[in-house]
Point group: C3
Chain length 416, copies 3
């Protein structure tokens, strides 16, 4: 067995705490193959490769939809996203052939029906995947009830508050969730206190937000001084920065890490599939967050970025700022060539205690295993090359470093 | 033989269709060694390394010019451009020494004279290089006559139309080529229809343009409403976007792919050698093309970029937008370290059907072989590492992927 | 012995000329372990990992400070900066254990006291490190007296002149150093002539400056025409560009290379440790220097950049502009993953005569060895992979290329 393989096998024995997912704790595992292939990674790649969006309509027969998507799978069987699906099919469905094609549609559908229908399916997936805890991404008005909050750790997602507060739908939801009608800074502060207190009581361990490339949080940004009734009178851009700043203050007060996922531009491909419309502008910089990092020295900011060139910034900012932590490999950077380089840069320059190795970003439990395996294979290679071979570390020392990235840092930073 | 070598050998057996060159179909092969060493890659590197521009004057003795350039070759024998020349000398001139120096000037000149003078030289080069078809880059007023259009495929270059239409010289050429005096939007539409129809009749398979870093095509840009005579009254910047948009409309109408070569700033080194004055500004983004990609879902846009960080954008945009295709490794990105990384990123994230692996960008036939060999060696390595070793593909499967990148996609996308 | 190891061993035999350091020639070697661990790389990483700044106060007991920093060393023993320290401890202090921890504080302190106290310590370090000459970075009012200027080569640092001339403290220092009270363009020209002449007489071999990401040197920038007394009336930004331009003119006149270190933003982390507050904005481009490179064809500009993506620009600009030279691997780019890629890009595209391989940027002599060894190990790997294996060069040829990068180019470019 090669050193890489040996390290990979050992890394897989470390129980995972997955620090960022979109899992629905009321339906964490897939129920049909449609839940797997309906993941935007497959619908968007199939659409990009020529599939019409027709089959994605809600009333389209799910089995037929799966067959349609599988028909396009061959067009992107080179991608790493395909390899996740193949690993799911092999690990969870007993698929044994080398490649998946449309001809496997019935077999896969039936196998999924049988497996996913098992009463212990959720437990089974967690056990096979060696997962202990899973962080959620909860809407601000999520009641956070009806699931095991030790296993599924609540996290407050604040995108809607920051970017859509002027929309009456969001404002109404906030009023219902907190009992406060928000129309000015004072009432917003009251509502946020309500909301953060509730999340904290329910065991929330982080606050999170995704931010567009041009976002520039400045402390000088204030709420309009003349309050003409409600926030609806202001454009979103005027509200975003001061609301964001108030949320950072709440994180400071409640000692919650604030996950910043930086750089996504929403709705770029206007007629794209659901969740397959967002892209990015590489012209963004962490210098835009200079004031924020200086203003909140006691808030830990786990940062995710979308490009490998911004990862060089991230590694440098985390090397200098005590409150900046590197976090995972996000979205368009979550492919092996970028992960490997970004991982190396962080390991060579950032204190090991300040690195959150990976999160799955999964919507269904079955994706945690193949995504983490992709990361663990790369991590094993980097540990083998850069630490065992180049620097003479023992395998045990290298694995201790791996354990910090995969588990210990998550436990310490998020206090779980 | 290593796996890489075996894959390389097999890749070389795939007949090439070179989808972007600057070959002159009336003089496709070199006639003297001066045609080879006069390529801007050599003149600019020699000038950069200290050579005076004196020897580049049109009336300078070509043999002496070659001797002068060879005298500076040693200063850049580390570069990949040098290695192309060495491969040409070995493959086509029978050169057998390890390095080329100024002392080889006479030998090389004479060998070139002898070989290039063979009546079958063009055929010979194409056969040795295993090239079947070669795309051209034709000026809009090129008559497209007098050459084999099955072998040399016409493509309409539109840089002058978009960026220089207000110059009377260009306007006059357009009038002569189309019979239409262009002075407003309507006459321009008529002229473009003329022009596109003629190119289509002559078998044109693509429209192409190179664009500066700051170019921002927006649908709102319109021609000035008050038409005071001719376009000459407007500055180029006012005309560029609406003309570009009209050309995209013509591509849509005639189902022509529109090659966008994005990011070059012209004339940066003002006293540089011919074609050795252009550079780039890394601060550019494909988000600038958001409106274009949305507005023309039926136009295929093969995109070339100049930097490895913009390649991460390109791979992401091609993963999401059905009409965005990755195209080759262009100019300042056309060196092994960038090709390898960019190729990996594309193969890991973009449907394999949407990737045009490589084009030579050559001015003379002899350059197709060494440039494609550089690419094929890297492709062989990526296929061996990422697909055969890491993902368990067979050699045959890996070669099928290589064939798509080198040939099949070009045939399908450009309908040749 | 592997090819890489053989090449590394040979590269180490080439006597070094270190073309950029911050060595104090009056105290070039360390006197206590505090001089080593007080280097900002250690204080900033320890602070980033959680160490309070308390121990960094000037009146804090140095031995206790060292113990405190060593206590945090374990948090960043994954970094390459840690590996430099380990190599110093092994090479210069006889440390033999595998890792350094706080428990080694006394042993290391005492070993350092004993070694650093040797009367021949400076000579010893230079000999062990195989260093022949060391470039300094001198303030404009440095008397340049009292040290061996053949060994320690003066270089004029111009940051204060360009960015702080309006501050009376700087202006007063300039007046004392040159005898000229600077209040307008004319008096500034006189003072600069004084200053450059003095530096030249003392053997200065370069002029150097570090520049922020947004710096845009344009020839049109002029000194305010109405001179209301002194420069103090103007804001720094108004003065920076015209002063910079005058300095470039002096470099032109005196044939001095002008080192540009591009992209650092000062004081980003406001409460960071001394010298640990600067970061960068990746959104910068060498296109900002277009006018400068065109205006001064006879000034050699060795350029350092902070990011790997800007390195692609640098390699391209050095490939085109005769007066642009690549220089070292600076600061946040000075970690192996970036060095290897940047080094490859330069070797594949830039004439070998125009590359300054590396400089240590050291404050104390002991750092020259581990930093150059990091670079030489990477260079050995690149020479082995890209030149010996891929291109069939002999080891001797590869070493000749290494010698140019490490020594010959420095000698020729800086005329030492």
């Amino acid at each position: 067995m090669s050193l890489e393989d040996a390290l990979f096998a050992e890394l897989c024995r470390i129980p995972l705490i997955d620090p960022h997912t979109h899992i629905n704790p009321h339906a964490p595992a897939s129920r049909t193959l449609d839940d797997i292939l309906g993941y935007h990674y497959y619908t968007e790649l199939a659409h990009s490769a020529g599939m019409s969006k027709e089959c994605l309509a809600p009333d389209f027969d799910p089995k037929e939809r799966v067959r349609t998507i599988l028909g396009y799978l061959e067009c992107f069987d080179n991608t790493v996203q395909y390899s996740w699906f193949l690993e799911i099919a092999r690990t969870f469905l007993g698929f044994e052939r080398e490649r998946v094609t449309a001809a496997d549609a019935d077999w896969l559908w039936n196998a999924a029906e049988k497996q996913f229908g098992r009463p212990d399916w959720e437990e089974h997936v967690l056990k096979v995947s060696n997962v202990e805890k899973i962080f959620l991404t909860n809407d601000f008005d999520d009641p956070l009830e009806g699931f095991d909050r030790e296993r599924y750790v609540p996290c407050l997602r604040t995108d809607a508050l920051v970017f859509q507060l002027r929309h009456s739908e969001v404002n109404d939801r906030l009023a219902r969730a907190t009992g406060v009608v928000v129309k000015d800074e004072e009432s917003l502060r009251t509502a946020l206190s309500e909301l953060f207190n509730r999340f904290q009581k329910k065991g929330a361990r982080a606050c999170a937000i995704s931010l567009p490339a041009e976002f520039l949080p400045e402390p000088e940004a204030t709420f309009p001084s003349e309050q003409i009734g409600a926030f609806q009178h202001y454009i979103s851009d005027e509200l975003a920065v001061p609301v964001f700043w108030l949320i950072a203050e709440k994180c400071d007060e409640l000692k919650l890490p604030f996950d910043l996922m930086i750089g996504v531009n929403r709705g770029v491909f206007r007629r794209g599939v659901h969740q397959g419309q967002d892209l990015f502008d590489q012209r963004t910089s962490l210098i835009q967050y200079e004031d924020l990092f200086n203003a909140f020295p006691d808030v830990t900011f786990p940062i995710s970025v979308l490009t490998s060139s911004q990862n060089q910034e991230l590694a440098s900012y985390a090397w200098i700022f005590p409150n900046v932590v590197t976090s995972g490999h996000w979205w368009y950077s979550n492919i092996p060539v970028h992960i490997e380089r970004d991982c190396r840069a962080r390991l060579q320059a950032v204190p090991k205690t300040k690195q959150i190795g990976y999160y799955s970003d999964a919507y269904k439990l079955e994706f945690i295993l193949p995504k983490f395996n992709m990361y663990r294979r790369i991590l094993a290679r980097v540990l083998a090359d850069d630490f065992v071979r180049d620097r003479g570390w023992t395998e045990t020392q290298a694995l201790e470093l791996g354990r910090m990235l995969l588990r210990d840092n998550v436990k310490r930073i998020f206090k779980v």
